[in-house]
């Protein structure tokens, strides 16, 4: 366990805590039968931490990521992001947080198939309301950062899996979010490409990026400094690794 403040309802997180969940639960009502995907997850993640979330399939990893990523709202419990209590925000405010504070990388890339790399990376900036010229420039810079400066006008189907995931990372980072979330980012990639991607994550971490990454592969998790394991919707282990 990491040494953090013992959080109780009514407290506010310490300043360098980017993510704090307190007894977070998420139930899915499946027509009478309730699936309890998360049953009280309490986690605190500091600025510039690199956390891997592991656990067997169905243990609630994606559910937790969706909650942290503000794509979903909890059934009960608290979620604080950068000292702001998120669990009670409106739809529009959640959209703003997704846009500004969170960069999400999915296993299936989730790029717009009809848009080229540059436009895909531009999307968050459009919803941030940036003027066209600034958008172009920033999107191009983000693509250059992941080594795709020469692929800007390629559509997703003209790119390899690794390149697609880099576009997705560029898109996730283009708004300089406070956290980068990745749900099994290497799930659709071969091992060489996975290793390259992990290098990108490593570099980002060294540049100060806070990263939470879901994986069920130990050698991928080995890149992170801290490993949280979920089991049946609860935190089973939470370990710092020797650097």
């Amino acid at each position: 366990m990491t040494d953090v403040q013992a959080f109780r309802t009514g407290d506010t997180p310490l300043p360098d805590i980017v993510i704090l969940t307190h007894k977070l639960t998420r139930d899915y009502d499946m027509g009478g039968e309730v699936v309890r995907a998360l049953r009280g997850v309490s986690l605190q993640i500091r600025k510039n931490e690199y956390v891997a979330v592991m656990g067997p399939s169905g243990s609630g990893k994606s559910t937790l990521m969706n909650l942290i990523g503000c794509l979903d709202t909890p059934t009960a419990g608290e979620y604080w992001l950068n000292g702001q209590k998120v669990s009670a925000l409106s739809d529009d405010e959640l959209a703003r947080i997704r846009n500004k504070e969170i960069g999400f990388v999915f296993q299936t890339f989730n790029l717009l198939p009809r848009a080229n790399a540059l436009h895909n990376v531009e999307l968050p900036l459009i919803y941030a309301g940036l003027p066209t010229k600034d958008r172009r420039a920033r999107a191009a810079r983000a693509l250059a950062r992941v080594g795709l400066a020469d692929r800007m006008d390629h559509r997703p189907n003209e790119l390899s899996g690794g390149q697609r995931q880099r576009v997705a990372i560029a898109r996730a980072l283009v708004n300089e979010p406070s956290i980068l979330l990745a749900d099994e980012p290497t799930g659709n990639l071969d091992s060489t490409t996975s290793a390259e991607l992990m290098q990108v994550f490593q570099d980002l971490h060294h540049q100060g990026q806070t990263i939470v990454m879901v994986t069920h592969e130990h050698d991928i998790a080995a890149h992170a400094a801290r490993v949280v394991t979920l089991r049946d919707g609860l935190v089973a282990t939470d370990q710092l690794r020797a650097a």
Partner: protein, 412 residues
């Protein structure tokens, strides 16, 4: 997302999915084409009727004294039979009214029928034969292009002279000056003294196939029973004087026919307003039926667009999920899809306006219908087209905007 961005995205999507977009624009396209086309016909007819038809048939500040209405619409049999039993207007009636009117008026009387005119073995059939007094030309606004009209003396004496309509002159005398030559009307020779300026046509019927001869010339035997005229035409200087003249004419005619106070007039006085009445009745129907049909077309167009947009929303659920995960708010998604359907409808409307205008011009050139595109209908086409798009887009767009991002992302 700023408005312009939404429009740009909409146009991009339309360009990317040309077939589907074309399909959904068709409904509005047809509706608007019809709107412009139908409107231009009614509009053209209207203008034509007011400017030309009524003026040509009757004239300004002018009334015709007749046995029964010349222009009529949907008359019952019993009324028609009653009209036929009425006494005819006689030379003597026309004279008495002309003498009796106490204000400055111009009068003429005329009778007409169809017949043929012959020159040098050439026969022109189905010609309007007019027997008229000399002021007929002034009153009917028939300007003489060549030669002269007949004089009051010729009119009174019933001299066998004749003035030709333009088309008739062209037909009988191609490349020849007709003045001074002799034509035959049912065997009787008449000397041509003038040709009337070209009148054009009315609903496709030439107004230039006629001859006018003095009412008392032998032509009277061709056009009416002896002593009978079709109409006495009275032209006053103003609308007010025309009304007065009509009152006096009514009094004179009633006394000549010994009508008692309770009895109805057994003659009519037709004004251009009366003729226009006929048209107004017809155009009222067109103005009700036309927009109805247009409305149906647009509703159908709207439903097509709504369905296509619902399909688009279903197909692009994942795209919506991606956009939402990147920070799109409900209103951004709403705007995106509304802009798309409005753009679709506007594209349809624009094409419809273009086609409608072309159609109207074609109608004008190829048919006797005097179509004239009304600028208002163009404006209406754009507004209605875009409006249909927005209305039809509201439901699909609001569905899209309410999609749950995770569920949307999971969709394949």
């Amino acid at each position: 997302m700023p408005f312009l961005e939404a429009v740009r995205l909409a146009l991009q999507t339309i360009r990317a999915q040309k077939l589907k977009s074309g399909f959904s624009a068709i409904g509005v396209f047809i509706g608007v084409t019809f709107l412009i086309g139908a409107w231009s016909i009614v509009n053209g007819m209207n203008r034509y009727m007011t400017d030309k038809f009524a003026g040509t048939l009757v004239g300004v500040n002018t009334f015709h004294l007749r046995r029964r209405p010349n222009v009529n619409f949907n008359v019952e049999d019993s009324v028609w039979r009653a009209w036929r039993r009425r006494p005819r207007i006689k030379f003597a009636d026309a004279d008495a009214v002309t003498q009796g009117l106490r204000m400055p008026v111009v009068t003429a009387w005329y009778s007409e029928d169809r017949g043929s005119v012959e020159y040098n073995g050439k026969v022109a059939k189905d010609i309007t034969l007019e027997g008229a007094t000399e002021r007929y030309f002034d009153i009917m606004n028939l300007k003489i292009a060549d030669g002269r009209a007949f004089t009051p003396q010729e009119s009174k004496a019933g001299t066998t002279v004749v003035v030709l309509g333009y088309d008739l002159a062209q037909k009988l005398f191609p490349g020849v000056n007709p003045i001074g030559r002799t034509v035959r009307i049912h065997g009787i020779p008449y000397r041509v003294i003038g040709v009337v300026e070209r009148q054009g046509n009315l609903l496709g019927i030439s107004l230039d196939k006629f001859v006018v001869a003095p009412a008392l010339s032998p032509i009277q035997r061709e056009v009416n029973p002896p002593g009978v005229v079709d109409a006495l035409i009275v032209k006053a200087n103003s609308e007010l004087e025309m009304r007065d003249a009509m009152d006096q004419t009514e009094a004179i005619m009633r006394s000549r026919r010994h009508l008692r106070p309770r009895q109805d007039d057994n003659f009519v006085m037709e004004t251009s307003e009366g003729v226009l009445d006929f048209w107004k009745k017809l155009s009222r129907i067109l103005y009700v039926v036309g927009p109805g049909l247009v409305g149906v077309a647009l509703v159908v167009g709207g439903i097509v667009i709504m369905n296509i947009m619902l399909m688009a929303v279903a197909e692009r659920t994942r795209e919506i999920g991606i956009r939402k995960s990147l920070g799109a708010r409900r209103r951004d998604i709403l705007r995106q899809f509304l802009a798309e359907s409005a753009a679709l409808a506007t594209v349809g409307a624009t094409l419809g306006i273009g086609t409608g205008i072309v159609l109207s011009l074609l109608l004008k050139v190829a048919t006797p219908l005097p179509a004239a595109v009304s600028p208002f209908s163009i404006l209406l086409g754009v507004v209605v087209g875009g409006g249909v798009g927005i209305v039809a887009g509201v439901y699909p767009a609001s569905r899209a905007s309410r999609l749950d991002p995770i569920a949307a992302l999971r969709q394949e």
